[in-house]
Symmetry: D2
Subunit: 459 residues, 4 copies
């Protein structure tokens, strides 16, 4: 683009940061798709003859093949994917190539490529989510009747169905998939025809381009169309939200598969060992997922900080939008696949879970004891306080709640009776949480039925 | 909440970071609304008698009045807004107060409060956006026929209607408002009935609570309901997106109202002067808006980093979700109001703009010159190159493009003819960009009509 | 500062974000100190008479007392702490007050205040670190002979002295204290005399001001002096680094005091319980510390994003530098105090640790077994592989490594002999790691002696 | 590292995120240097014979050559650079290769490689800074007597020497170089001998390793040595600080080389043009530098978020520390070089600057006017107010301050006399700011002399 206007060659140090071809070449398919559609539109508005159109399209298609078979030579001097393809087109078809850029600016071209790229990627991530959903659904279905302690503050809290935990992950990620849907509406605005900033001056048929490239609507303002990157912001935010949930699932799995807890076992093919300590079986797969969340968040900050305070319209800073985006795309796709394998391969150690429940010696039923008193007419806060005192007493005596005598119970509240021992039943406790969204078995079964239906309509 | 279970008083240093009452008191209205609805639901499921329900509701209402008239004494020992209100209720109505917490956990209560708070705030921000839209619309309407240079890379690019720039801001912010709509669907999930994590054990009527509190749906998983903060993430992201656009508008306004450019003047009541330099008129209002964007982005990172890697379900770290959120809410509301005033008060210096257009000596028409050659049959890239050469030549000669002779033009391309001087017409240039989203006057008029219609249905 | 130049009152919405008095009032002491020194310097260069100087200083001192006893009325119309004090000074001493600002700009005044503030705060944090160091040192000394499993990937790795872990925390935080020292050199550059940007025009004696205010050097460039905020960046970075380490210590403590691991117990006064589950003892103190790290990181991003791309010299955006800074200061001071209490109050459950070591059934010695083979002449990687096979075999048989017979050992390598059982000795294993920085008891004792000496010279 | 312990192959999806060889191969030189030193130390402590040591070292050296001539085949199955080299060494020298890892863990090996890498990089960046310093120094020297308006709030403020602005950049970056020095002390701690976490068990001579690898001290705690990444945090922070300053310089240059201001011209070889608008000369080099700052900040957040809340000791998440680091290193080195070219190539348009000074019609002397009144005995605030009124009056009349009559001046203050017109002298105004750090010519000359001396002793 320096031809004509400048004589001098680019400064060497500058060339290194100026050229984006090392990373934007990834958009070659989108760029060629966009150029083919544009050639058709140029034909429609009379800039190209039918023959020229055909020559250009064939040229572009053969360039695509060259890139895919590795024979295409990318040149740094040509800066970016647009100019590399344009230069090669000229080599192949001669001067006709020079008509393709008529009335078109790289400012709009890059935005078109990015939107096309994200339309694809969004579909891919949506599908990867659905695949993970089915894994979570299957684990939930299998372990509906497995009762584990839920944890608050990483301390054993109340008994819940293990299925309830798997479905908690599902519910969180389900909302992210929902976010992706809303995002796609905003993504599918066709920017071509915006020129450098003022709009197209050659009367290009934008509706034709929209349909040809499978967009849903036209961008409404040419200045905005080349200036905004909010679609990248939003995409990176949604990925961050997904990764936040995956990082939390990873943490749960790291903890639950630890030597000391061992509710879960990770399959060997998702673990590694140590170069020094041969006994180690390390949960590297989920540690790496947890780690990847930091990267995706870092990329989000990068684009936010990049855009902050830039004047309208296009500024060259915007070139920096791509590498972080690509990295977020790859990281998200990768970790969704790994998490699918992790959830699918996770083994649940029922025996160990039984052992933990036994060892908890009734403390997991403290809330149930309070509820017991409430049913006998004690006001909730008083019941809560009484059970607090019982817990303290039991700990001091080194006893479990199950092991206290009725006399001991009665010393804290005369409302205790021998039916108090009926409280210490995990299944009953779980099933008492019988509301929409609660952990009672039949509530989870209802939810599983609902999800089964949902999964049919997704993807 | 230490009663019964613990004897000792809280450590003093710990108490300082443990108590959240200094900031979560802001949620008192939501907390009381939630408790009134919960009291009704407790009556419905038989935990409260009609009389008890009434006493509790009246008690809560009088507490609300106490808080609003400033007579309520917040106590740090009561940690948070929930316990402060519960304590005061007990002082007012005695033991009956102790029934209100039956089957309810602070884990769900805080999430309820936050969602109610955000339902309100989201409306408020949506309204503030619409107010700003009308200001942008009005400026656009007024300055439809004012032509300014558009800028790319902060260099004069092509002539555009000033209205087109105002509408670019509108178009960007319009999408954020659209994001708020999608967000509200996800926000309006009623979490009450989730208990600490396992769900309610007293058969509370969640549908009743949902309707009573104007939610749209029920949270589907009690573990997820108390663990997630994705609604805060998403809200803070949308605010960040809004602030990015506002920071860019601010930058434009700072530049365009500078001594050297002066297209715009900021009203005095939105400017300040210097403590040392009495001639200064500084655009502090828009500088501060630009600065606030950093804060809102910082808050987003805070909540992302907070959530990363936390195990399920509730962890106390989540207390740290609120101050950043409040700060983002206040900053966003404030800057939207200030930007409304800025846009409303902005004066456009038509004379100065005319002067700049004159001084540009034709360089703004370089693309038009290339288009001229294209129309004469020159291939676009060749035309572009020829005009590049002309520009270089003109600069070397110290001439404007308008001032070159026909002979000089012809020396670069024999396709030039005397009609070339017809190119140097700003209005014509603008109107040649005649596509949807382009800057041609009648295209902007169409867009204004469309927006006028949209604004009726918003808000 | 609008007097003279502007007629109109400030716009109301703008005033809300324009005034900084709500938060910069915190700098009143520094502002007054700076003004007193400046008054003395004005006297030195002949702007003030001796009497005027005295009147001004007395006036400023009485304002300080008013602020401290709460009788000072801060006014939003006066924008910031500088103008509030100047206005009050005028009320008190009349027109003489108007001489105090001679040749001084708020641009330099705010930087002076911030630097003075941070000089104080840095000392405070350095002292809080030293206090925490003594707590870590004491715990290390007490638990020198307590052996626990070290963890990699949150899986039991090799036996180490518990003291070694406490000293790991010390070593990390020690570097942050070292960073604070380097920072102070850069912090203690006296900016006064820089004017708005060009330097003082009244020949103020900057060396006098430097000494009077306990700075170490003079800022070297007036433009830089009023433009940079790198001292805030660096301070917030160091706090982030501290909080990263504290968040990791918190994680360790949360894990090690869990129901399932229980190496540590947190004192009751640093724990809380649940509003619904009376048995819970939650480690809220360390969860909150972990959470605070997110906030301090968020503040760092805020200031980085704020500064990015701002032109020289002063811009009003810089007003936004303070709230995040104050928040980071308070958070850091608070969490250092809480962590001191946590470490001091931490109880180590020796019995439980013994039990875990017993239950590990020899797997913690896998590396020692490999070392055993190496000593018998097996090459390391082969030894590592052989022990890997033994571990797999033992797990399949449901046996511990200690429980395998010599025959079983020999089946994996003929180098095993009956002295292999000597490997299973925790103390020996620990003491074999006998290098500087290793966990051998006497190495730790050396380190403790060194630290004892260091602690004397710190603070 | 799965040999022996695991049978199964790694899961394919997991392998993709597990292998780090695609990026950590960059550390091959450091890894080989570390291994050669380690082989020598193994010989010293008797693990290797002299012959074995020699074979290993020669093997490693030939591997280094293979990597450098491109013949080395990196294998994903070997995960990382350590295992790739170890595997190749085994292919080359057989079983002896298996002794090299004796008592060494990848946990310490990667930290060693990273520290060696950063020791190098830090030198490189320090040198690049010095190169930039000389460019700034030269420009300052050349333009000592060029007077431009300084800007606050991007509004013309007071006249300053252009040299003063160049030296402001120098002063800011000088502090960053100083930060690098303090950092190096902390960086040069030799971690080898820390084992997986407990320390070396084979009595390796750490002091020998330290000297051999040019470190300054030994890491003091083996747990800390393999767990901390604070040296990466600090390095990335310092780069962020550098980039903040470079982004601000870029902003200045973008603004000052704009069509409307034109104080500066960027050389053609550091500019580009537009694909659509042939007249454009865009400052892409500095826009890209400004943009790169966002990326470096994003990387800093990545590592901060990564580390937050990780338990001790090593966790696999740490693998994610490298790509962001490499990216920050490359970006920083690149932009420092480009900025050197920019500063070196910058042309200062003296004529245009003269024109702007003329056009400012005296308003740049408003502070001088106030000083004039102060010297006549008017109290500063009153003088400031009077001049504010004069400015307002002049603007209303459409006059410059220079153009007001004495009568007009006198109408605002009777202290004005005909010597008032002596105020309007740029050189005098600049030279009145005569303090250390001020813009007076001879002060800058002093500073230039000082810097000339400093530059001799740097690097």
């Amino acid at each position: 683009m320096r031809d004509g206007r400048f004589d001098e060659l680019l400064n060497k140090a500058f060339e290194r940061i100026n050229a984006s071809i090392d990373f934007d070449r990834r958009l070659y398919r989108e760029d060629i798709r966009g150029s083919i559609a544009y050639a058709k539109a140029l034909y429609k508005c009379g800039v190209l003859s039918a023959v020229e159109q055909e020559i250009i399209i064939k040229g572009l298609q053969s360039i695509e093949r060259e890139i895919e078979d590795g024979s295409f030579v990318f040149r740094k001097e040509d800066e970016d994917i647009h100019m590399n393809i344009e230069r090669r087109l000229h080599e192949k078809i001669g001067e006709t190539a020079y008509k393709l850029h008529t009335g078109r600016s790289r400012n709009e071209q890059i935005v078109l490529d990015e939107r096309l790229f994200l339309m694809d990627v969004t579909e891919k991530i949506a599908r990867a989510l659905v695949r993970l959903f089915t894994a979570l659904f299957t684990q939930a279905k299998t372990h509906l009747h497995t009762i584990i302690p839920s944890y608050t503050h990483f301390r054993q809290a109340q008994p819940v169905s293990l299925a309830h935990l798997f479905l908690a992950y599902y519910t969180a990620l389900r909302r992210d998939r929902n976010r992706l849907c809303g995002f796609q509406e905003r993504l599918k605005e066709m920017p071509l025809g915006s020129g450098a900033a003022a709009g197209s001056s050659i009367g290009i048929d934008r509706d034709f381009l929209k349909d040809e490239l499978h967009f849903k609507s036209l961008s409404r303002n040419s200045i905005d169309a080349v200036s905004t990157r909010d679609f990248i912001l939003e995409f990176e935010f949604i990925c961050s939200s997904i990764l936040i949930t995956l990082s939390r699932m990873s943490e749960d799995i790291i903890l639950f598969s630890s030597d000391e807890i061992s509710y879960f076992s990770l399959p060997d093919e998702l673990s590694t060992s140590s170069s020094l300590m041969p006994q180690k079986k390390n949960p590297d797969s989920v540690e790496l997922i947890r780690g990847k969340s930091a990267r995706v968040i870092g990329n989000l900050i990068r684009i936010l900080t990049l855009m902050k305070g830039l004047p309208y319209t296009y500024n060259r800073d915007l070139q920096e939008d791509k590498e972080g985006l690509f990295d977020t795309v790859d990281s998200t796709v990768d970790v969704l696949e790994v998490m699918f394998e992790v959830i699918t391969g996770l083994k649940v150690n029922e025996e160990r879970i039984q052992e933990v429940l036994r060892q908890s010696r009734g403390f997991l039923f403290a809330t149930d004891l309070a509820d017991y008193l409430v049913k006998k007419g004690v006001f909730f806060r008083n019941a809560h306080k009484a059970v607090g005192n019982i817990v303290k007493y039991a700990l001091e005596k080194g006893k479990g709640l199950e092991e206290l005598s009725l006399a001991e119970y009665k010393s804290f509240s005369r409302n205790f009776d021998k039916d108090v021992y009926g409280v210490f039943d995990y299944e009953k406790s779980v099933n008492r949480h019988d509301t929409t969204g609660g952990t009672a078995f039949h509530r989870i079964e209802e939810e599983l039925t609902l999800i089964e239906e949902e999964l049919k309509h997704l993807c």
